[in-house]
Symmetry: none
Subunit: 406 residues, 2 copies
């Protein structure tokens, strides 16, 4: 347990310098530490080299009291974070029989023999506490150095997250800085910005961050007291109204599934241009099967007719990307045995556009026992951006429809 | 003009440490410099503080010959990158009348009077070359220091991009550093490592990076000459054999779709636990419709029977997660009008596991006109990890089946 104020983060991995891969672990670490009042004063990416890691630790211990590293704890020869830290601090690495046993167990449970290189993960910095990793193989390490500490964490985000929450945060106290995220869907970033901008002077512009991500917009609110946070939440929520779909970790898929469960309705999907993306987002939520039946990926027109009974003449007269076909798909999805059908058909690009229906044209529809809702969008961006925007706007259309349905 | 080998990048901005905003400028800089043979040896995010910026420049000049900074060149009080670099190098800042005139012109053209704080942008490091910014207000700066150089660039991505291309790259020549990625599927990271490790001494361990990502493993090879790269590629390819599915930007979905097109075969999918993830990966590839028909997301058992005709007694006798049902799903998918059917059924967790079929159990099958291939896996990790592993291992099973098919 320690009182820390200034933290620094090092993402270890040559790929972070040589490829377009971005370090996102620093975001998790930064956010969680901020919740404990610890400020991130610097972050870095360094290659998988003992000397580079050692130098980073030495330099950062001169200006931070908590230095965290992620990555380079795995079994392979380029995993040298332990060695780098050992060199910086002049500590030895010793084999920990307890960890070794757990590693062997883990491989046995997965029905595989442990490769000999995996033994490297059982080496521990002299004097370090071992931080168990319930989600993966390599454990984390915590090394206290008087009033400072160095922490080694795995690079796999979910493993890092778990160890951070279970073992690191409980050892950290500081002045809390409170953060809440308001999650918005069905609007573009600039619309949201324009709506909330009048609130900036009241709370201070620097306390609000807007982040857009393909169909959802996050408003991150920062406050120094619970009262201030509650006031900010209230003021922004009032302005956002129905566009606000949840807070913090809530996802559109979760919110939609909850709303379906409340009504005891089942959902089925019929996806064309999104090719299964909506189904994939829905089934990412544990327990999705209570409200999601499944559906069809009717990428080819033959499947639109065959699996969900879209009349051939609709396809010929209006084209696969049309309001008529979107609505027929949603109604056809319902007939799979669900109260609710959701359908998407569009032109994701880069080819396939026309003057009348340019790339980015997406029709979506929701069918309920009571009525059918339809929306037409012209999304900008790459093929994948159009697909992700379509999936999220469609989930949001379903959310709004469920909210308004009798 | 200079011959540079090692570059370091500093993104200046407190928001990069306090909010979920990520620095992406380093990716642009890294990619463009790599094209000139300059390797990025470190990157950092530091706050808008003179001392922090100065320290970064000092430390990085000790190990890089080209140090680039982005951000903090604007007019406001927290834009202190010029001051930080000036402090690190013991240089003065002087007002440049030429820049001042351009700034005043620019504001006039936009119909606004120049605010007095904007004068800050006209200050230049003693001895620096001014890099004109045709897309924005603040110019960049290039300061030569013997065989080294420090470069200040604006933080706005399009302004940074333009100045980089117009003014920075023409001044940079280096020894080209060549990179190639060998992409591997159907194996776990430690298996791949063990296979290729004997090649490390021949080429040098530091030239090879292994990256695992839920069902695919990347071997990133670095070389100094095209001959060396060709030798590395050949040696590693020989060891990897059929596990190698492509190079560089190739994806499993692309490779599978190409193999289908070559045979003029269509594919249909039947996904249970992956809920549309395979369809979503396939349709991410432009032109997927030439080989992918679509399929069903048969999350509920009722849809397994209804849409792809899995006999009810198979579901009752063996359970939805079984070899028999996986094979029936793959055959049912074929009957949607495709030569090839791909099916996945499994337990993604966190609930739903049993002693006999623990969480992570996934059956997958591929049906062709000639035969049916089946695989059973026990994947470790979270729900989403299991799903992504299942999707990628299934695409890989299809790839291998297509390769071996008569």
């Amino acid at each position: 347990m320690g009182h820390f104020v200034r933290a620094a983060f090092v993402a270890v991995g040559s790929e972070l310098l040589r490829t377009p891969r971005l370090d996102t672990n620093s975001l998790r670490v930064g956010e969680k530490l901020a919740g404990r009042g610890v400020v991130l004063v610097e972050k870095r990416c360094v290659p998988d080299e003992v000397a580079a890691i050692a130098r980073a630790v030495e330099e950062l211990l001169a200006r931070a009291d908590l230095v965290l590293l992620s990555g380079g704890l795995g079994p392979t020869a380029d995993d040298v974070t332990r060695e780098g830290v050992a060199q910086a601090l002049g500590r030895k690495l010793t084999l920990d029989e307890g960890i070794l046993g757990q590693l062997e167990d883990r491989y046995r449970r997965l029905g595989r023999t442990m490769p000999s290189i995996a033994r490297r993960m059982a080496y521990v910095l002299e004097g370090a506490d071992v931080l168990a990793n319930p989600r993966g193989t390599a454990p984390g390490l915590w090394l206290s150095l008087g009033s400072q500490a160095v922490v080694l964490l795995p690079g796999v985000p979910e493993e890092l997250d778990t160890i951070l929450t279970l073992h690191v945060l409980p050892r950290v106290t500081g002045r809390p800085f409170l953060v809440r995220t308001l999650r918005v869907a069905g609007r573009f970033e600039s619309e949201v910005e324009q709506r909330v901008a009048p609130l900036y002077p009241r709370f201070g512009r620097e306390k609000i961050t807007i982040l857009a991500s393909r169909g959802t917009v996050d408003l991150v609110l920062g406050a120094e007291t619970p009262e201030e946070l509650a006031q900010m939440d209230q003021a922004f929520s009032e302005v956002l109204q129905d566009d606000l779909f949840g807070r913090d970790e809530a996802t559109l898929a979760q919110v939609v599934l909850e709303a379906l469960k409340e009504r005891r309705w089942l959902l089925a999907t019929a996806e064309s241009c999104t090719g299964g993306l909506v189904g994939s987002l829905l089934t990412q939520v544990p327990g999705a099967s209570e409200a999601y039946l499944g559906g069809v990926v009717c990428y080819a027109n033959s499947l639109k007719a065959r699996l969900v009974g879209v009349p051939e003449d609709l396809l010929t007269t209006y084209g696969a990307v049309s309001r008529q076909v979107a609505e027929a798909l949603a109604l056809g999805a319902r007939r799979l045995g669900a109260q609710c059908g959701l359908a998407i058909t569009g032109i994701a690009g880069p080819g396939g556009g026309s003057a009348e229906k340019p790339v980015g044209t997406v029709h979506m529809a929701v069918a309920t026992p009571h009525h059918v809702e339809h929306r037409l969008y012209r999304f900008g961006g790459s093929r994948q951006t159009v697909r992700e925007l379509a999936a999220n706007f469609a989930l949001d259309l379903l959310r709004r429809t469920l909210k308004g349905a009798p």
